[in-house]
């Protein structure tokens, strides 16, 4: 017989075997289009260098005639002896107070230490002081009742947990904190329907509330491109872009219309 035949005879099963082996040699593994391990190019969270920090400040104006503050009827509780004007829209001389200004975008993945110092929310004259409060996530809010009457503090958040606690006169301050970012988190007192204020829970320490002259200032920002948000409880939000170089001192003004 010819060698060819032998080769065929012996070769066939071997070939078969190989074919089979190849056939069952495991499934082809799909290769990921993008390696899952590599995270999206995140801005490197460089520590803030105090030597290069910039400041942004400005004034918030109100265009048009501000409505006179609505009178509050506090007669339902004789213990309330505060000023009887509502604080929803405070604009004197075209300057808008109680606007919350914060860095909405541009800080990347930087994280900031939560201040150990609590911020205080005082209830006196059956009003909240301040009316617009900024606080960092996890930072303590110390709630004090300086009135001779009982208040209850009732935040009605969208993204945080709701609670409602009674605080009689001369009782110990309540220590609370909020775990998630939330702008314009309303707080009210159910016993004094006019009592209302807003807490703004933010991730960074770069925020401010405009004073009676509409002025604000945010210090200590590392150089970069930022979006500043101006938030007013009635007039809504306005955003401004700002680029800060090292040691910059920039002014960003904002105008709200009724």
């Amino acid at each position: 017989m010819k060698t060819k035949t032998w080769v065929t005879i012996l070769g066939m099963p071997v070939a078969c075997g190989f074919v089979l082996l190849a056939g069952c040699g495991g499934k082809k593994e799909e290769t990921a289009e993008q390696p899952a391990a590599a995270p999206a190019a995140a801005p490197t969270a460089a520590p803030v260098d105090p030597a290069t920090v910039a400041t942004v400040a400005g004034t918030v104006k109100f265009e048009g005639t501000a409505p006179a503050g609505a009178k509050i009827d506090m007669s339902q509780d004789p213990a309330c002896k505060g000023t009887n004007t509502a604080e929803a829209l405070l604009a004197s001389g075209g300057h808008l107070a109680n606007v919350f200004v914060y860095v909405k975008d541009g800080l990347g993945s930087r994280t900031f230490d939560v201040p150990k110092q609590p911020v205080t929310l005082d209830q006196s004259g059956c009003k909240y002081h301040p009316h617009m409060l900024g606080v960092m996530i996890g930072q303590e809010v110390k709630i004090v009742n300086s009135d001779p009457t009982t208040h209850n503090i009732h935040p009605q958040p969208k993204d945080n947990r709701e609670w409602n606690e009674s605080q009689p006169p001369q009782s110990a301050p309540l220590d609370k904190s909020f775990a998630r970012e939330e702008i314009l988190l309303p707080v009210k007192c159910n016993q004094h329907p006019w009592m209302k204020m807003y807490i703004n829970v933010v991730k960074s320490p770069f925020y401010a509330v405009t004073d009676a002259d509409g002025k604000f200032e945010i210090k200590g920002l590392p150089p970069g491109d930022y979006t500043l948000a101006f938030v007013h409880e009635k007039l809504g939000e306005k955003d401004e872009k700002v680029t800060l170089a090292a040691k910059d001192n920039k002014t960003v003004d904002e105008t709200f219309k009724p």
Binding site: M12, G17, P35, Q76, T150, E165, Q167, P168
Partner: protein
Amino acid sequence: MPDKPIPENDPIVTKSLAPHYVICMVVLMATLFWALWDEDFGQRPWKTFQHEWKSRYSAFLKTARTQSAQSQKEIENSPDYQKLKQDYEAASKSAESRINELRERLREVGAKILAVQDGPGHFTDRRAYVTAVTYDIETTASSSAKQGKQRDLDAYKAEPSTVEMPDGKVQTFKNFGELEEVYNDLKNERTQLSAELGELLKPVTEKKELMDSYLADHMVSLTSSQLLNLQNSVESLTPAIRQINVNEHAANLEREDSAQIVDRCESCHLGIREPVNLTAAAMSLPGKKPDEYARAFTSHPNRDLLRIHDSERFGCSPCHQGNGRATTSVEKAHGTYEHWLWPIFRAGNYEAGCQICHSADMVLVNNDVGWVIGEGKDLFRQRGCVGCHRYEGYDKEPEDLLSIAQEIKLLEQQKKDHLKQADDFMAQADKAATNEEANHLNDRAVALKVENSKVDLRIMQLDRTTKSLLQDMKKVGPNLKDVRLKLNKNWIPVWLKKPTDFRPTTKMPNFRLTDEQIRAISAFVWQSGLTDPPPKHKPGNAAHGKELFETRGCLACHSIGEGDQIEGGTFAANLTRVGEKANYDYLVRWVHNARERTRPYCPYEKKDIGPEDYKKKGVPFVFDLDHSKCPNDGHELQVQNMTVMPSLRLSETDAEDIASYLITLRKKSPSDYADASFMDDPQLKEQGKKWVRFFGCFGCHELSGLEDEGRIGTELTAEGSKPVERLDFALLTEVAERGGNEPIKDPEDLARLPEGPAKEPWYDHQGFFEHKLAEPNIWDQGKIFNDETEKLRMPNLHLTKEQIRALTTFLLGSQENPLPPSYQYKPLDYRKDIQEGWWVVKKYNCMGCHQLIPGQKTILMGLARYQDAQEQLPPKLLTEGARVDPQWLLRFLKNPALNDNDTNRNGIRSYLQVRMPTFSFSENELGKLVRFFQALSRQPFPYIPEEVPVLTAKETEMARSLFSSTAAPCLKCHATGDPVHDRTATAPNFLQARGRLKPDWMEQWMLDPQAISPGTSMPSGLFKRQDGHWVFSGPTPPSFQGYDKDHTKLLVDYILQLTAEEQRRVASGMGRSRAAVTPGPPVAAGSGGRGVSK
């Protein structure tokens, strides 16, 4: 012999069989390899899965362990843990020496016991002999033999025995008695020592447990050692089929009540029940996208569900379907091949599995919202599918009515039989031979008469149920007998053309009517309508009407606005253009009381009864729930419109105002509609009736002369288990089998397909339902028609993608249940009350206003008006059954004003603008609702109120000081009945607590109202725990010195005894002179009762 020449072509020399052998060998070899391949791969693909599982899972566990070890270390370093550890160490150290001592003693005693009891001639041996002989003596009959044996025994007992003690000494016991005594003493000593050791060890083990549970509680995942155990078990895994044999009657699979579940799903889905959370990403190979293995190895996404439905009892396929026994390929196991009737439910329709056993549940899980299957159930009901398609459990009232009528007939017959039999007995008794027999027969006759009284009472009960059922019967669409009173005539044909053109969100589907059909149908509807004119009304104040409309709660069901501007609920009609179609006078009547009928309907005579019928009998034309008998024949009448719209108890003027506002809602003038006087053409009427019958309009609407028509569609109760061949794909079968080439071309209908245009083959139930719902006449494609009646009738329900997905899920799960009854959720206890209650709750859209499940959003919550005024929202009913006395609830649901004369108000929350309407529930539904709320809170039913202790003068004084304390000024927010004060009130009057609230609930409420009604105005923190009691958080007067009961309880008792007078006094004491001067209006629950002792 000359040699024969060898033939030239000798086959032995020239031919070879080698090629044949080679071929055979190749074939055999190939078969061998094939068999080997099949062994591991071909027939057992799950083996590859298990190999992969082994390597991937152990790799996963390895990384998990390092992470876990790290976090474990962190926890162990935490001060809390360290403290526990120190405690443990201190405890074990202090007890250590004594424990060791005890252990040593125990060891010694144990050895002594062993020495005394074991061995030849020792205690156990001798005792056995003594017992045996004693038994022998007792069973011996003759007394002489007994005595002989007794002597032997005594002699044996007196024998001494020697024992070598563990310390090597040999001890001799002089007789059996002494040996026994020593043995028993040793045993007692051991028991005492063990008990003492246990006592000593207890605190130590407790501390150790504290330590371990602290660790387990604070670890996010499992502890390192737990993970190690898992890893060891996975590494020692050998490939094997993993099978769930459901044990229920497994021995006999042929039995009817056998579960017949043998699921091998876990042979590939190995991670389903693992105690760690496995995601597809975590199970992928490093740097690779999740492949088929990674997806198969994930853990069950809903562990809570798995916990309720224990896999060992349920297996997998009862919920997911598929072919649980198949192991040869993924397709076979998932049942996605043509020979398996129940393919696995795909993503998006998973919840179809719930419907199989939970078809009686309108709401699946008490603590969850957002179920696709739940939306499907709601849609099926709200959209009126049940008007054409029967579905078991839906729209049950007509069926119940029928069965009750039959039962009454049976009972009547039974009564007759009883009477006859009783007569017979009495006749026999009269002629009986003895008095005894006569008395016996008479007794039997009496028993039958008593039985008949019971039957009579049962029939009366059934008559009441009939009345209830008539009251409960509702239609999805409006009563078309009233069209002439209610509608702008010219608007009707425009509406029928395409209802969504007029009102995009309407429930009325598009019927694809030809102009001819429209003319005929509108003519029939118009001409068969009642002609009685509604009473005339003067025009109202539209501005006030608008305010009422927005504040009374209309928007919980109705919506206003179109497109993005839409506000309100989808339960009832969008009213944006109602002014174009409605007649003002009719609208006033409707708003005032939608249930008010023009004429009552007599189901017995099958006609609407008018004033003329009443006049003939000389009775006034008055019909309502109290006057519901037909003047002609005394049968129960349908006296209400069959609508779920309740009465808001508005005054007539308010109703006029709202109607005046509604009539202004329009885009064009009613007079702009083209004249439709053809509707008066009597010739069109008959033709119209034919079409109305054809399209089954009476399924949703009341229509004269068609009240008793049956449903025109197919029954859908088991539509999901119909073999796919019985679903009529018509000429599209081929297209569906091949996939691609989507037959729906209309862009609007195409957008309704949940998965978009078909790419894969869709010849299955899901494909059928989705296409049918997206374009109901799709199966008409390619057919040739001689007549309109040959076309498909099902109208287009203009559903969205999500709605079609929900309805498809519902239909897929609508199956003849293959499981034994014990697997189906058909509870008979309180859970049945819950099941029944949800049907009523959903029927009347209670959840448009009230929150019944934590986290559930009501329609009103979403309205802009309430964003800043949440205290103006209707109360949450999360604990209603535990809160109120069921008897009170019954009264309240009957009449939420809680007052027979002054009804234009809320009975409890008078400070709310939104109004709890009167639904005029039937007795049947009232009962269901009350039982539902009790069951939902697991409260006993019936409820027996506890006796409220009468407070002493001192206690009253103390309670009053709490009640009026500046630290908890109750009356600041709670209504007092003083109108000036109540303007700012945000909570109910305390005088209504008695008879309404359960004392336990009140106490719980005072302690933590936020945990009962999240977001409530009532603050928490009024009481604190002190020395095992609840104590007021604010300052308390000196009278509380030494008071050692719960302050909450005191306050509850006080409130339950509060009188109007006391409340006024307290209110005036709080510096509000007005409250003292103005006496409040009488309060329903406040009058009478015990006074507060002074």
